[in-house]
């Protein structure tokens, strides 16, 4: 009985979470405007109509892009603003890849470190047996 009720509760929770996720996806699809598609930023305009911009600076188009990015992300370094602001999810995933890789290698290589650990744990286990 207990396992049955537990399974029922887990099923209800899974259905609720799935329903909430589905609702969020549909809501985002219908109501939210697209973010960061470049239409509000004039870099799009720079690409399609270069005549509208003043390209006679020393840096040319790069200076214009940096100025536009300063208004958007408030960072002087475009690469940093892309890595940590516009593509923050990507950096999060990258750092979690590193975390997972180190956890996996720890599982494989940890037997070499057992000699360094204190032997009280092993003694406790034998006493219980």
């Amino acid at each position: 009985m207990k396992t049955k009720t537990r399974r029922l509760i887990a099923l209800i929770c899974a259905v609720l979470i799935l329903a909430a996720g589905l609702y969020a996806v549909v809501y985002a699809k219908i109501n939210l405007p697209p973010t960061y598609d470049g239409s509000k930023v004039d870099v799009n305009d720079l690409y399609e109509h270069p005549d509208h911009e003043n390209l006679k600076d020393a840096d040319g188009a790069a200076a214009i892009i940096v100025q536009k990015n300063l208004k958007e992300a408030y960072a002087a370094n475009d690469v940093a603003s892309i890595v940590f602001d516009f593509r923050g999810y990507d950096t999060l995933g990258e750092s979690f890849i590193l975390l997972t890789a180190i956890a996996g290698s720890f599982v494989i290589l940890a037997k070499h470190r057992k000699e360094d650990l204190p032997k009280e744990q092993e003694g406790g286990q034998t006493d219980e047996v």
């Binding site: 975390l99 890789a101 180190i102």
Partner: protein
């Protein structure tokens, strides 16, 4: 490697080289982390440079000294701490009412200062701390494969 009277005979050139280059590696790595948002580089790259100093320590002095000098448990905790800090800083954008990883407090410092880009700077520091701890821990693990065999040989030689 040769052993004489229980003392590990290391090449003096490698030892002096690790002595000379270790502080420079640490300072340069911390510089790359701190100025990651205004100059080439960033948290990831600087963290790897700092972690490479553990390898220098191992090359110069062997596994036992390196594992005594570096607290591996603290590194393991610090990696999770850095990841959590990154997520908290990223969630700040949602609490303000925008998207994940939005730059929230950007009105500090002039453009080009060390701390000038608001949240981006601190996210870079969090990633740098996380990579520093993670890669350092990974290097210690990899040293652990190589080293205990050498120590066993040393005990057998006794």
């Amino acid at each position: 490697m040769k052993y004489k009277k229980g003392i590990e005979q290391k090449n003096i050139i490698v030892k002096c080289g690790s002595d000379k280059f270790l502080p420079f590696a640490l300072v340069f790595g911390l510089y790359v982390i701190l100025f990651g948002t205004v100059s080439p580089g960033g948290g990831f790259q600087g963290g790897v440079i700092v972690a490479s100093s553990a390898l220098l320590l191992y090359l110069g002095y062997g596994y036992k000294t390196a594992s005594k000098a570096i607290n591996s448990e603290a590194l393991r905790v610090g990696e999770s701490l850095g990841a959590t800090l990154y997520v908290i800083l990223g969630l700040g954008g949602i609490f303000v009412g925008s998207v994940f990883c939005r730059n929230i407090f950007y009105n500090d410092g002039a453009v080009g200062d060390m701390i000038s880009a608001g949240t981006i700077t601190f996210m870079s520091y969090a990633v740098g701390f996380k990579v520093l701890c993670g890669v350092g821990f990974l290097l210690l693990l990899l040293m652990g494969i190589l080293a205990p065999d050498a120590d066993d040989e040393k005990e057998e030689a006794k």
